[in-house]
């Protein structure tokens, strides 16, 4: 009869972990150490993320202005007001347009550029990565100053090139939001391109070679071999770009202030306006809660879609 190995012997009850085989005391000590290492991050996470989120939810049920002594409980009044607030719905519509247009455009363009520059010589690859990353590291104010000059109706470069007279690109309800999306696009593609180039470098080359030997076309190699392997990067790019697009604020504030006639107002900008210009903190927090829920829903959908795609 074969003798069972010593390691397979059941540990004495209450003395040893049934998984690691370590003594319970040792496991406890290691667990405490692990939590101690996590503690600083946890404190920051709780203090700067969870607690503010909780405060935001609580404040959303208050009628609260800068004179905090006059704060009263408003119940769902802020949420009811939101339902009938035309500016809120206009801002939400604009935000969704920005997300729906910008996110796929940024992802597809970044993937295309990443795929195009990946096979290049290292020097050229670095050059293009720098070129596309430049708008990311350039300050938003500097970027908007340049774009404002380009879009200037009287002296701007765009009207000179297109011979469009004095068309007010940022002052026209039909064109303003597309100008914002264009600028957002240029400032958003840098990081995804760098990520895609890195992700393509991690694709298993033996699989590609095997597919090529089997007669796969370039398109088949991309969709059947590369695409599944860079899916985690795609998911990250989608989620981050979605969140950034939802939170588009600085460009709006610096370029259009939400105008003309609210045609470029986003939820984030409207929340800021309500909180800091009109000093209605309760109402602004209620909108913040709704924005957070929308972003969470979009992100969950993306995770779900990416997971389904992987299967």
């Amino acid at each position: 009869m074969a003798q069972a190995p010593a390691a397979a012997k059941p540990a004495k009850k209450g003395r040893r972990s049934e998984f690691s085989g370590m003594s319970r005391a040792l496991v406890r000590r290691e667990t405490i150490s692990a939590y101690l290492f996590l503690l600083p991050s946890l404190i920051f996470f709780v203090g700067f993320v969870l607690v503010p989120m909780g405060i935001c939810v609580v404040y959303s049920f208050l009628d609260m202005g800068i004179n905090t002594s006059g704060t009263t409980f408003a119940g769902f009044q802020n949420y009811i007001e939101m339902a009938g607030d035309k500016v809120f719905w206009q801002s939400l519509r604009n935000t969704v347009v920005i997300v729906v247009v910008a996110v796929p455009a940024v992802t597809a363009f970044s993937l295309w550029v990443g795929s195009a520059i990946y096979p290049m010589h290292a020097a050229w690859r670095s050059f293009f990565r720098c070129v596309f990353y430049l708008p990311v590291v350039t300050g938003t104010v500097a970027v908007t100053v340049v774009w404002k000059w380009i879009f200037n109706p009287f002296t701007g470069l765009l009207n000179k090139i297109l011979h469009t007279g004095t068309l007010d690109w940022l002052g026209n309800e039909k064109t303003a939001i597309w100008c914002i999306i264009l600028i957002l696009f240029t400032t958003s593609i840098g990081q995804p391109i760098v990520l895609y180039v890195a992700a393509l470098g991690n694709v298993d080359k033996s699989l590609i070679e095997a597919a090529q030997v089997d007669g796969a076309t370039k398109l088949q190699v991309f969709w059947k071999i590369k695409w599944p392997q860079i899916m985690p990067t795609t998911l990250y790019v989608l989620v981050i770009t979605t969140i950034n697009s939802f939170q588009c604020f600085a460009l709006i504030q610096l370029l259009t202030s939400g105008g003309p006639n609210g045609s470029t107002s986003t939820l984030m900008y409207y929340i800021f306006d309500v909180a800091y210009k009109y000093q209605r903190f309760g109402y602004a927090n209620a909108m913040g809660v709704i924005l957070a829920l929308i972003i969470a829903a979009f992100s969950a959908l993306q995770f779900k879609a990416a997971k389904t795609g992987n299967e």
Partner: protein, 446 residues
């Protein structure tokens, strides 16, 4: 050893966190500060903070706060003043954040629309009636409107004023001369009629000397006084009623003015832009893209004149009867009620010194680039190198109209005003309908 290292690492992280988040009763690190001289002990020094918007050299690109505080400390070494410079883009956000965090400065320098109508009305400011006791008649002698503007609805004074000015417009003198448009202005009184304004705009447009004679800026929040004054003056309309309890921008006179502007924009005589803010229009004026600016005053002249290769000629806004009513600007100090009697007293001492001191008072006014609200100061620019420049703005002071900026819902109506201009001048909305919508929305916020 491993346990010891783990504990050491954890403790260092916790201590670092505690150091980051630790509370302090000291004033936060200021942008600038001038410590009190005299070597007195720390316990005897009262520390106060001053936040100031860019009002001439009380902020801006060449602030002189250190000089002012040094002069103050010669007389009051027991008070240490630190300061922070705000701008009109983010200043309100910083102040609102400070209010929300109960971390407001002791003193703040701005106008009655913020100090009185907003923060004062919300019970955040200290009543400064005791400072006014000796100076009210002196200030009233210059303008009773200043006295009224600094007083809240509850009868308390929440602002102690230092200076004032009239907001006006300016023309490119050389362009007007070459276009033959000088005939439509009265150079001596710096006034013109509505008909003269229209004729001048047509003459400048026909000359082709600039891209467009004028740009009615409809974007942003600042510089609204320019477009308000333009609309109100064209047919002698009013912005609010006499007791500042309702907006009246939908009156027949104002609607007629809005209709005229819409016609001028539609036929291409002048332009309107929703992407242009006042600063953009001023820059376009300095670049000679347009021939007039609606956002002129002494401070803007100081900021933009050096860029202009022409003569900016200050003018009153055109009116049907040739008698303009200009919007005024008043700037002064308010004290946030932080509940510390010693700091409030020190803040009052500082304010009195910079506003009322026989030597520092006029110098404080000169640093703003505006005019004194105290009649006893007389002409503070006489004998200085600013005298000639300031004389043209001094000549516009008699046209100072009603100071209605203290009307309730002021912040909200500014947004509504620009939105209304956009709907009328950009989208072609009906002036009466849009003005009615503006008044309804603005009055709802009073």
């Amino acid at each position: 050893m491993k346990k010891f290292l783990a504990l050491l690492l954890s403790m260092s992280m916790v201590f670092a966190l505690a150091a980051c988040g630790g509370g302090s009763t000291e004033t936060p690190a200021p942008e600038g500060s001038a410590p009190a001289d005299g070597g007195s002990g720390d316990a005897e020094v009262t520390r106060i903070t001053l936040w100031t918007y860019p009002i001439g050299q009380w902020g801006g690109t060449d602030p002189q706060l250190d000089t002012i505080i040094a002069a103050f400390n010669e007389a009051h070494p027991e008070i240490e003043v630190s300061y922070e410079l705000l701008d009109y883009t983010n200043g309100d956000t910083q102040v609102t954040s400070a209010i929300a965090a109960s971390n407001t400065p002791d003193i703040i320098m701005e106008g009655p629309e913020r100090l009185v109508s907003n923060w004062g009305a919300n019970g955040l400011m200290v009543d400064l009636s005791d400072l006014w006791a000796d100076t009210e008649s002196d200030i009233a002698a210059t303008s009773q409107a200043v006295v009224s503007a600094c007083m809240g609805a509850d009868g308390n004074y929440y602002e102690y004023p230092l200076c004032m000015t009239t907001h006006c417009m300016a023309i490119n003198y050389e362009v007007f001369e070459q276009a033959g448009a000088l005939q439509y202005i009265d150079e001596e009184t710096r006034t013109w009629t509505t008909d003269g304004f229209v004729a001048a705009m047509e003459a400048v447009a026909a000359s082709g000397l600039v891209s467009t004679p004028a740009i009615v800026y409809c974007g942003g929040q600042g510089g609204d006084q320019g477009t308000r004054a333009l609309v109100n003056n064209l047919y002698s309309g009013t912005y609010t009623n006499a007791d500042h309890t309702a907006y009246t921008a939908n009156s027949p006179e104002n609607v007629e003015a809005l209709t005229l502007l819409q016609t001028l924009v539609n036929d291409g005589t002048i332009s309107a832009s929703a992407s242009f803010q006042a600063s953009d229009e001023l820059q376009a004026f300095a670049n000679q893209t347009c021939a007039v600016t609606f956002a002129w005053n002494a401070s803007n002249k100081a900021a933009y004149a050096s860029q202009a290769a022409f003569t900016p000629f200050a003018m009153a806004f055109p009116s049907d009867d040739g008698v303009p009513e200009l919007c005024g600007g008043i700037w002064g100090f308010g004290i946030f009620d932080n509940g510390d009697a010693a700091k409030i007293e020190a803040a009052k001492t500082f304010i009195q010194f910079v506003c009322d001191d026989a030597v520092q008072g006029p110098e404080s006014v000169r640093l703003t680039g505006f005019f004194p609200v105290r009649s006893s100061f007389g002409d503070v620019y006489a004998g200085t190198d600013q005298a000639e420049q300031m004389s043209e703005f001094q000549s516009l002071m008699p046209y100072l109209g009603d100071y209605y900026n203290v009307t309730g819902g002021w912040t909200e109506q500014r947004t509504e005003w620009f939105n209304m201009l956009q709907r009328i001048l950009i989208s072609g909305g009906d002036p009466q309908t849009e003005a009615d919508a503006f008044v309804e929305a603005s009055n709802a916020n009073i």
